[in-house]
Symmetry: C2
Subunit: 203 residues, 2 copies
């Protein structure tokens, strides 16, 4: 992995505001990029290939797996989802903070493969706020909402496995906290070995 | 250790500007405090007990050691120097970032005792700049300056053992970087266990 790039996994329960926070972040910072997942599921209305996902067929996806071309992948409801290695590596080499929006299990996999990864958990200020947000969407029935809240509690219990926890009280605060994390991670000695040796050698 | 306090070791070669940077930092931030060392050496002109050091006699210092009252200590040129535990613990309980300005060996000792510690290495932009700063002081002869530069190079080689490296190009930049580190460390899940359980329990 590049000396200066930062690989970040970003998780949080449904309704925690991951998409909004990430899109504000990359709007603000040119050194932060979101990794685009690859999937074999069909695009939904409005979804654009190369923006929301790379939409591919199963044969292509399986070839990628066989060629060790996926950082991680998993199967849900008959479809494959995963993170292609190549674009991530390329952005890391360019010194970017590369963010994988990924669920709890995927983040665990990445953590085992890349001990250097920085993991961030986005959390609602309370489960009550999460409930209000889910109801506010007006897209799900009572049963679905209750199911999502059960899952959310389980996921939040996993937050302790992450390096950082960011509370999404306001989008601006949450974005600023992630920026702070990126800025601090750039000061880690493990990412500054080159500079340390340059200082010693009087470059 | 308290859930929210942060223990920080702060090292850097002679002439890197540790004192100036730290005093600016604590001036700016009420949540950052410098730990005051204890020593058996006599106060120099202008040194104030309880500000620069706690000046004590050897008997008192040795009793502290025996009572497990020192975080770390070492002997130099016939004098004992060390960090008393009690004030550090008290500031940590109050949620402060407690900074121990300590040389490389002391920082290593603390790291072994407290895996939770955050270690910061302050570095000059180059050894050349360090040399200019040491000469600029006009207090040391050629031989002393050369000796200090040899030591500085050895110390900078140890920088990789630290968590973070902060380059002191300007005091303002260096202080801002340390603030970023403190802010990010406050977002570590290990320091937010209480908040995570409150969110789950809908407090």
């Amino acid at each position: 992995m590049a000396d200066n790039g930062i690989l970040i996994t970003f998780s949080g329960p449904s309704g925690s505001g991951k998409d909004t926070v990430l899109s504000k972040l990359v709007e603000k910072r040119n050194d932060a990029k979101i990794s685009i997942s690859m999937t074999t599921r069909k695009p939904r209305n409005g979804e654009i290939d190369g923006t929301h996902y790379y939409f591919v067929n199963r044969e292509y996806f399986e070839k990628k797996i066989a060629a060790d071309g996926m950082l991680e992948y998993a199967e849900y409801a008959g479809n494959l989802y995963g993170t292609p290695k190549e674009p991530v590596d390329e952005m890391l080499r360019a010194g970017k903070a590369v963010i994988l929006e990924i669920e709890v299990q995927g983040a665990e996999k990445i953590r085992k493969l890349y001990p250097d990864v920085v993991s961030i958990f986005l959390m609602p200020p309370s489960v009550r706020v999460l409930e209000e947000r889910l109801r506010g969407r007006n897209t799900e029935d009572e049963e679905t909402i209750n199911h999502r809240l059960v899952i959310a509690r389980e996921e939040i219990r996993k937050a302790s496995d992450y390096d950082y926890v960011v509370i999404n009280d306001t989008i601006e605060n949450a974005v600023a906290r992630i920026e702070t994390i990126i800025d601090a991670e750039r000061l880690k000695t493990s990412r500054n070995k080159k500079i340390i040796s340059e200082v010693i050698n009087n470059v």
